[in-house]
């Protein structure tokens, strides 16, 4: 405007001024409208702009955040992808290591409190290192014998006390309590020994012990160990060798070849054998019995160690050696062959000499064993020697290997536990003492019902059902073969034909 007035003042034409006057209102209107627009932007629209700007800023910030997150995730993915390459294949990852450490810490915590191991350890510490335990066996059964028409139940308990006195010394005592048929409870102490290990190859045993002759007395007689209920004839009622002795043993083993190829020895000395001699035929209770001199008879029965009066001043000697020729690695099974001898004076100057051979073979489900025994007993006067022979062979087979066709598979578990058995045993002797030998069957040593014959032969069939390694239900049928020959040395009568006797025994036995 100033410019325009100056032009007007300094020489502008009238036409120019008129045009200017006409254009002025338009210019004013235009300027006004323009001013209006500008002022609108300045008030309401500028708030919107700020808002938009803020939103843009927000979006930018969000985008930046997302970008950072994506970057972070990408880094993680890369790290994960790299991991297998970084860690050697068999090294635990960091997480696993952490877990392992935690586990270890936990295990240590648990162990420190009461894990079974630490608990057992603590109990042992509390009770002392060397301890006492009771093992042994028990049997209850039923016996039927045709000849003597006997039906009876029978109960036997044989606890064994083991007391570990030191790392090298063990005390063992067996107490036998039995309730035999038709009798009151009877207690015996068949074994009481102290065992001391001198070194890896020798051990001393002192006390009352099972005769280590052959395999039977020491290794096969306990209820749950014997596959049958009865003893084989040579170890039965009229045994050839005494069942126990009191004295001293040295024993040990030596590995001469590969693992399992061993030889073992037992040498011992004891009080020696004794025989029942107080047989006065015809004397019956009530006492006082008329006095009669005791006389030795062919076929006398041996007495248990508890009754032995040491008749002689000479101890008896015994020796046994067993060899196991098959190495464990060969997987040919376990074979044992052994030889034994037992010699002692049973009366001043009069000897009982005996020897025996035995074998035992076991492989898988099959088990066989057998023994041969020969004994020579010198007799006083002109009676003639009391020589005897005895033997047995037996075999058993677990049906675990048998799968009959068409058998339901659920029966297999039952079949596996059955063990059918067979045993043949026999004794030869010149005579037997009628009043000495009980023809009443009983469990264990006098179980064979017809042993009164000097030429006894017996077939035993057995069927065992094993609930567990030492829990068994046993069934046994005994067939006594009729055998003529020999005489009764107390009555002098000839034995003649022996009745063909049968017996059935059933027994539940456990080893604990």
């Amino acid at each position: 405007m100033l410019e325009l007035n100056r032009r007007l003042r300094f020489g502008c034409s009238r036409k120019m001024v008129a045009a200017a006057i006409w254009t002025l209102p338009f210019a004013i209107i235009l300027a006004g409208s323009m001013a209006r627009v500008v002022s609108a932007a300045d008030s309401g629209d500028s708030a919107l702009l700020i808002q938009i700007k803020q939103e843009i800023d927000q979006l930018k910030a969000d985008r930046e955040k997302d970008r950072q997150q994506i970057q972070h995730l990408e880094q993680q993915i890369q790290a994960i992808q790299k991991q297998p390459a970084q860690a050697p294949p068999n090294q635990p990852s960091a997480t696993q290591q952490a877990t392992d450490q935690q586990l270890k810490a936990l295990a240590a915590k648990v162990a420190a409190q009461s894990s079974p191991q630490s608990f057992a350890q603590e109990v042992n510490d509390y009770l002392g290192r060397y301890r006492f335990t009771i093992v042994g066996g028990a049997a209850g059964g039923f016996i039927y014998d045709r000849q003597s028409n006997i039906n009876t139940y029978n109960l036997d308990l044989e606890p064994i006390l083991l007391w570990q006195i030191s790392d090298r010394m063990l005390f063992e005592a067996t107490i036998e309590a039995s309730l035999p048929s038709g009798g009151a409870a009877d207690y015996e102490l068949p074994v009481a020994t102290l065992q001391y290990f001198l070194n890896d190859y020798m051990e001393v045993v002192a006390g009352i012990f099972d005769q280590p002759f052959g395999d039977w007395y020491e290794d096969q007689s306990p209820f749950w160990v014997n596959r049958f209920i009865t003893a084989p004839l040579p170890y039965g009622a009229n045994a050839l060798v005494p069942g126990s002795d009191i004295g001293l043993q040295l024993r040990g083993a030596y590995q001469w070849g590969a693992v399992g190829q061993i030889a073992d020895y037992t040498v011992w000395s004891g009080n020696g054998p004794g025989y029942n001699q107080a047989t006065c035929t015809g004397n019956t209770s009530p006492s006082p019995l008329p006095s009669c001199s005791t006389r030795a008879l062919v076929g006398d029965t041996l007495v248990g160690v508890n009754n032995i009066r040491l008749n002689t001043h000479t101890p008896a000697f015994g020796a046994r050696i067993r060899v196991y020729p098959l190495p464990v690695e060969s997987e040919l099974g376990r074979l044992e062959v052994g030889a034994s001898t037992y010699d002692g004076k049973w009366l001043n100057g009069l000897w009982l000499k005996s020897w025996g051979a035995d074998f035992n073979y076991f492989k898988g489900n099959l088990q066989t064993r057998g023994e041969w025994i020969q004994s020579y007993r010198q007799m006083p006067g002109s009676i003639g020697a009391d020589n005897r022979q005895g033997w047995y062979v037996q075999a058993g087979y677990f049906l675990a290997g048998v799968r009959p066709p068409l058998m339901p598979s659920s029966w297999a578990a039952i079949l596996d536990k059955f063990e059918p058995l067979i045993r043949y045993s026999g004794v030869n002797q010149r005579a037997s003492v009628l009043s000495d030998i009980s023809t009443t069957p009983g469990i264990g040593f006098n179980g064979s019902p017809a042993v009164f014959a000097p030429h006894a032969r017996e077939v035993a069939l057995g069927l065992d059902y094993w609930f567990a390694p030492s829990v068994v239900w046993q069934n046994e049928f005994n067939f006594e073969m009729p055998g003529a020959g020999g005489f009764y040395s107390d009555t002098g009568a000839r034995v003649g034909a022996v009745p063909n006797d049968r017996a059935f025994l059933s027994q539940f036995a456990i080893g604990f």
Partner: protein
């Protein structure tokens, strides 16, 4: 005469044997590897040795301290070589 001979034998035997190193039921300090080797040998022997007279009795039937006593009993009963008895003991205690 016989008694004197026996005494002589016993004295000589005892003299010889006491001069050996002793047998300890629980063989003292052993490395883990030795124990492992014993265990393996025991696992191999157990079904063979322990089945010969009766059915083999498994480890879980008895506690470790009971096994200590029972293996002394069985070592006598079966005349087991000492090293084999130790291996079986290790196996029985370890397989519980």
């Amino acid at each position: 005469m016989k008694t004197k001979a026996l005494m002589f034998i016993l004295v000589v035997a005892a003299g010889i044997t006491f001069s050996f190193t002793g047998w300890a039921q629980t063989a003292g300090a052993q490395s883990a590897a030795e124990k492992r080797a014993l265990f393996m040998r025991g696992a191999e022997l157990w079904p063979v040795y322990c089945n010969t007279c009766h059915n083999a009795r498994p480890g879980p039937e008895f506690s470790p301290s009971e096994w200590n006593m029972i293996m002394m009993h069985m070592r006598t009963q079966a005349n087991l070589p000492a090293q084999d008895a130790r291996a079986i003991l290790e196996y029985l205690k370890g397989s519980r």
